[in-house]
């Protein structure tokens, strides 16, 4: 941690220490924060688990005593000088003024704190005998299974949907889809299922036909109390289409009956909630049935009158996914157009980087390495750094290797 523009503050004291002086003892309480200006300072603490002594030397310009001052708890270490040492002593208020002028200092500290927190968390898990080397995808699915088994379907639904969102090609995607549908059909009045009619409830692997959702199926819901109007929902529940109040499907049913005096208008209503179509499309994609996934994504992109933020988000995701289906089908021009359109229409989308990466992939596939390289380079430089950046870097390395 480097210090900021210290000279600007006024009430900060410079203090000189002889060799071996104790700046503070473990368990002392104090609100002062120190910056090492000259000389050396050694911090001595004990490991929480073994009691082993740990020594850490402070580098010139670094802060120490920060956490305990900020958190207002006793010092966790003893600070002692080595040789003649000069320290700046800051009351908490001055420290605050200082860091407010230099957000970068705060960021560095946050990073260090966050690492410490992770380390402690890891130790806690070890003591509680929780395994650390787990596969998050599988565990996420298992969370869904836990809630499903205890009958808390709303929460189960959330976990399955997240699984489908993050791991649409994962080993549990078919199972997750199956659960999502089972929960949905359960919520449609218990006994039977509105979604049975032609729709593959328990076997999402089967191809789905456009007319699988006959509108007459909805008649079963006539006796159901009308569902509450769909509320605007947080983006975290973008894909919520299930159990709870405000379910998209339920809303649509209401719409349908509400406009029953105008059957022509009703016929134009989408037959399924678009979020549901989206999941079906993802499921088909994961089964390498790209023609059908393409057809469903197209259907989503043709739908008008998006009802809420959640549907808009699905639309946005479909705009990206349709490009992937085109790419898999070898329809490169269409894929290029789809990814470019998506970036134009949704420049703020979290999928922009991924779309750029896919543009690179398309160009690489059609043997235009220069264009591919320029897209990959863009991706590599983009924040936040994640798996897509790594993939792009990998592709760049491959292209360079081939060029030699």
């Amino acid at each position: 941690m480097s210090n900021g523009p210290i000279s600007q503050s006024t009430s900060i004291v410079t203090r000189r220490y002889k060799h071996g002086s104790v700046v503070y003892f473990e368990n002392d309480k104090s609100e002062y924060i120190y910056v090492l200006k000259g000389g050396r300072v050694m911090l001595t603490s004990r490991k929480v688990d073994t009691g082993e002594e740990v020594k850490e030397e402070i580098k010139p310009g670094e802060f120490f005593g920060v956490k305990s001052s900020l958190g207002k708890y006793p010092r966790e270490e003893t600070a002692q000088t080595i040789g003649e040492t000069v320290l700046l002593v800051l009351p908490l208020a001055d420290f605050e003024r200082l860091v407010l002028q230099n957000v970068n200092v705060v960021r560095k500290m946050l990073r260090i704190f966050s690492n410490q927190l992770r380390r402690i968390g890891k130790m806690q898990r070890e003591v509680l005998d929780q395994k650390d080397n787990v596969n998050p995808a599988e565990e996420l699915f298992k969370i869904g299974e836990y809630y499903f088994e205890v009958g808390r379907v709303q929460q189960a639904q959330y976990a399955y949907k997240r699984y489908m969102e993050y791991y649409p090609d994962g080993p549990y995607s078919a199972k997750s889809m199956q659960r999502i549908r089972a929960i949905e059909s359960g919520s449609q009045g218990g006994s039977g299922s509105t979604f049975d009619g032609g729709g593959p409830v328990s076997a999402p692997a089967a191809p789905v036909h456009d007319d699988s959702m006959d509108l007459t199926d909805f008649s079963i819901d006539e006796e159901r109390p009308s569902a509450p109007a769909a509320e605007p929902r947080g983006p975290m529940s973008d894909f919520d289409m299930g159990m709870d109040a405000g379910s998209g499907v339920a809303g649509e049913i209401d719409d349908f009956f509400g406009s029953s005096s105008a059957p022509a208008a009703a016929a134009e209503q989408p037959k399924q909630d678009i979020a549901e179509i989206f999941y079906e499309a993802m499921s088909l994609f994961s089964q390498e049935n790209y023609a059908d996934s393409l057809r469903l994504y197209t259907e989503i992109l043709e739908s008008k009158n998006l009802k809420n933020e959640a549907e808009r988000k699905v639309y946005e995701k479909a705009s990206f996914e349709i490009g992937r289906s085109y790419l898999k089908l070898g329809k490169f021009n269409e894929a290029l157009a789809a990814f470019s359109d998506m970036i134009k229409k949704f420049p703020q989308s979290e999928n922009v980087k991924n779309a750029l990466f896919h543009l690179g992939l398309v160009y690489e596939t059609v043997k235009k390495p220069d264009k591919a390289t320029s897209y990959y380079n863009k991706v590599v430089a983009m924040e936040p750094k994640d798996g897509v950046n790594k993939l792009a870097a990998k592709r760049l390395a491959t292209i360079q290797g081939q060029g030699k």
Binding site: G71, L110, Q124, E139, G234, P235
Partner: protein
């Protein structure tokens, strides 16, 4: 609140009771400030959902996502109608630049979290269940600097909370607390525990801890 009300227009999200805000093991890219309602932090351990914490207005959660993308270590579920400010990692830098007060607040929150996590680890590392329960009470007393430990102290905690802190089954904690109650060491209520001589608990725990370390 220390945050600008206008922030809610831009970053506000709302959840109904029972709704999951995020789920254990899903990738984490957002962190949250609670503006209204309560949020339960839970984890599924040995096929049981355990409540790790209950957070209220002014609290922050999901903060580990600020600096790195890692799977969530626990789930967050709305207990009431919950209002949150939700920030993404990508706009974190911009957010800090525009709101240095927020950065400072986060620094304080992290400092406290680290201390609390270490303190909890110390409890978990004790071997005997009785000592764990006693140390939870010591820890609870440390959270209120105004307590006079010369006298009987009142700790606001339920058996379930003590069990969560100690990483124990509530049934086991109940046995221990009931026994202490019978011995006159504590008085047990549904929502609080009165400890007659907390100093005594501290002595016992500290001497045991010293033995462990030597």
């Amino acid at each position: 609140m220390f945050l600008d009300a206008k922030l809610f227009d831009k970053f506000g999200v709302e959840y109904s009771p029972g709704e999951i805000i995020f789920c254990e093991y899903e990738p984490g890219n957002e962190f949250y400030f609670i503006q209204g309602g309560r949020v339960k932090i839970v984890k599924i351990i040995n096929n049981t959902e355990k409540t790790l914490d209950i957070l209220e207005v002014g609290d922050v959660f999901g903060e580990m996502a600020i600096l790195e993308e890692q799977p969530r270590s626990a789930s967050a579920i709305a207990m009431d109608h919950v209002k949150l400010l939700k920030f993404r990692r990508e706009n974190f830098d911009a957010l800090l630049q525009g709101n240095p007060q927020l950065a400072y607040k986060l620094l304080i929150i992290f400092s406290k979290r680290i201390y609390d996590a270490k303190r909890r680890l110390m409890i978990l590392l004790l071997e005997e269940p009785q000592l764990k329960v006693m140390d939870v009470m010591c820890m609870l007393s440390e959270q209120d600097p105004h307590l006079d430990l010369q006298e009987a102290v009142t700790l606001k905690a339920t058996m379930q909370e003590v069990a969560n802190w100690a990483g124990m089954q509530v049934g086991d904690v109940q046995k221990i607390l009931t026994h202490m109650n019978q011995l006159g060491k504590i008085e047990l209520f549904t929502d609080k525990i009165i400890v007659k001589n907390l100093r005594d608990f501290q002595r016992v725990v500290n001497s045991r801890r010293k033995n462990m370390m030597s």
